[in-house]
Symmetry: C2
Subunit: 426 residues, 2 copies
């Protein structure tokens, strides 16, 4: 049974109760949202994790990507990234490792967090194929499903699978080529496979078989957007929307079979096109939870893409996105280090909070009220306690203290708050 099949049968699960309590909403209302497919709780039956709800009418959630690459393999470093994710309030972690012993790395990561874990199984397939045959493109179709099944048994909670990269979407792309081509790694594996072998994507062709595997372990399917744009100019083109239509059709099939499903979205999108992207996803995919990478609103800021993504992510979340994949300052430059995981996570949490405030979420507003209360009282310790990151501002304040312990070193004696407060005492 999955959360979705339970919801359809009118069963309120322990996971639903937990999520309803976290979100301060009625559990029967939540059950209905899950039944309709508007909300998912990615939780593999083989692993004990904190249930996290993703979808409309819930708070915006944030995912941390981490993992090794062929150029940098250090498990202890990845585990530090996990620790940071736990500490600073990530809602999920994706292990995107492509270097070293992948099952071992994944197992270590899962042991060190109770957050839902996501993967992109085609990476492991590609890495195995490269080892076995020397080329990713020679990947074995059986291997694809074997890897997915093994990861499902291990307890992976959600999987990105690029089922919408099909002969049709590749054809649409080739008829109207774009500047950057395919920039999704998994998408590129499958595009290359389709073009080289002139075969259909096995994940699309054998979609029903895929659903059987996922259903058995209640793995949430995250339909990957392999055709996402890789630069602003390529945004919202025919290939992207062609793939989205296929993803919408697959959403229907998931829901029919009782498999929880969400949909992934762009990418590099000019600010003025973000709302349209969110709205079209919601109509075509019938309100499936939307999981976005960024979006990045300018390509001019390598080294600062946590900021370009926070700008796009806020508007995306206000316009319909439910799950933000963080972006770190290292995006487009190199593999991220631990401290950049923190920077990316905080930036994404800011976007989520700003969007939840904009949508009138009471939990989000309550925190804002607490911060204002602490500020008006000049209660600095309390401010740090409520802050998304307590450590950084506390340390900063100590670096240039004010002579007046109530004030800060921006204004010192000329603190506006203290001046007007003083006046009120007369």
């Amino acid at each position: 049974m999955t959360q979705l099949t339970d919801a359809k049968s009118g069963i309120v699960t322990e996971e639903m109760k937990f999520v309803a309590d976290e979100e301060k909403i009625d559990v029967n209302y939540l059950r209905k949202l899950i039944e309709k497919g508007y909300v998912v709780i990615p939780k593999n039956i083989n692993r004990k994790t904190k249930p996290v709800g993703i979808g409309d009418n819930l708070r915006t959630k944030v995912n941390v990507n981490l993992g090794t690459s062929p150029d940098f393999i250090d498990i202890s470093c990845e585990l530090k990234k996990v620790e940071i994710s736990n500490k600073y309030g990530a809602d999920a972690i994706m292990d995107l490792s492509t270097g070293g012993n992948l099952p071992e790395i994944r197992s270590q990561i899962m042991k060190n967090t109770n957050l839902p874990i996501g993967t992109v199984p085609i990476y492991e397939v590609g890495v195995d194929s490269k080892e076995k045959y020397g080329r990713v493109i020679d990947m074995d179709e059986d291997l694809i499903f074997n890897v997915i099944e093994r990861q499902a048994q291990e307890g992976v909670d959600f999987m990105t699978l690029h089922c919408g990269i099909t002969k049709q979407s590749v054809d649409t792309l080739n008829k109207d080529p774009r500047k950057m081509g395919v920039v999704s790694r998994g998408g590129a594996f499958l595009t290359a496979y389709i073009m080289y072998h002139n075969k259909e994507n096995p994940l699309y062709r054998d979609f029903d078989y895929l659903l059987e595997i996922l259903k058995e372990h209640d793995v949430t399917l995250s339909l990957g957007d392999g055709m996402r744009p890789g630069c602003l100019q390529d945004n919202t083109d025919r290939a992207q929307i062609q793939e989205l239509i296929t993803l919408g059709e697959l959403v229907d099939r998931c829901r029919e079979k009782g498999v929880q499903v969400m949909v992934e979205g762009p990418g590099h999108v000019p600010y003025n096109n973000i709302q349209a992207n969110m709205q079209i996803q919601k109509t075509i995919c019938k309100n499936a939870p939307f999981y976005v990478l960024g979006p990045i609103v300018t390509d001019l800021a390598p080294g600062y893409d946590h900021i370009t993504a926070a700008i796009g992510g806020t508007l995306a979340a206000v316009s319909g996105a439910n799950f933000l994949c963080y972006v770190t300052p290292a995006e487009h430059v190199r593999l991220m280090k631990e401290e950049e995981v923190k920077e990316g996570l905080i930036a994404s949490k800011i976007a989520a909070q700003a969007a939840d405030v904009a949508k009138g979420n009471p939990v989000a507003w309550n925190k804002e009220r607490q911060m204002a209360d602490a500020r008006i009282k000049h209660d600095w310790e309390r401010q740090f306690e409520i802050a998304l990151d307590s450590d950084k501002p506390k340390k900063m304040r100590e670096e240039i203290p004010s002579k007046d312990e109530k004030a800060c070193s921006v204004c010192g004696d000329y603190c506006a708050l203290l001046m007007v407060e003083e006046l009120g005492k007369r």
Copy 2:
């Protein structure tokens, strides 16, 4: 003569030519925008600076705040901040010093940049009053105008003056008190003055005299928003809008007298109210250039307010703001250090670029195209050259290099771009 009186007389100045060239727009069109008051070029006749246009149909501009405080006085540190502003593309600098020898600091700053310089003269008035009488509140009315005149003679290009803090707006505030009261420093000086002495704000009462001084040196008046909200809950309340109406009336008087004018705006604003704030400013102030501080979209991120401001700033600029005052990571914590000036400036430049892209600005789009071209060619040096910050990503990339010089250490052998490129070569 001011740029505005010249524009009204049909005169195309050298400054207009320079700005039109920078913005790639027709100079007669620009002259008309200036004539209507939709665009200003803050340039004091007593100082040689780079002319910068601010207003509708031009690229979004970014201001850097810097300056000493009573708790931290180090001119060399401020001059490093000036150097950073020059290097990373600030469009203007405001010297907000309140500690040390203010005229000397200002003079040093002006010598070290050709960017337009702004000040908040009431700070110097407050500091002088405190020295002379022991209290800011005892400030001398003559001193106010003397300081303004002296700064105008020195060559200050634009001045923030809180002329809209009046008995009326203070009364509106007192009838419906807000959580954080007055958080604008200059606003607090004048609110305290009005309440303590029960006198009208001299800047409002003697507004015509003020305009005479400003006009003589072509100082652009930046009408300060002393009633801006200091937390999300206080946003867009009656006191703020009452002050805005007064500012709108003063805009008319500036334009009649030939004084260039822009209007300052909030502040702490929930994301969903930013657009309304921009639109109401544009109607009430008849399309005067709008200069916003942030806006900050959540109060939960001390240590990261360059990000909360970049999120709000992008939406503000898309919705009508023309000039973004940067916010640094030190905001709400302590005086900013040099490296934080850079972080704040880059974040604000990102917001400006993202907004200009959204508005279809051809200069902004051209840069995006250049970056995509460099990326598709794996031309890393060119990417760094085009980037808003060249140094940071270059250094980062060297830290974890890829074995493949075309790729980066995120994907290494599994680079999507290279994989699809390889396929195209067959």
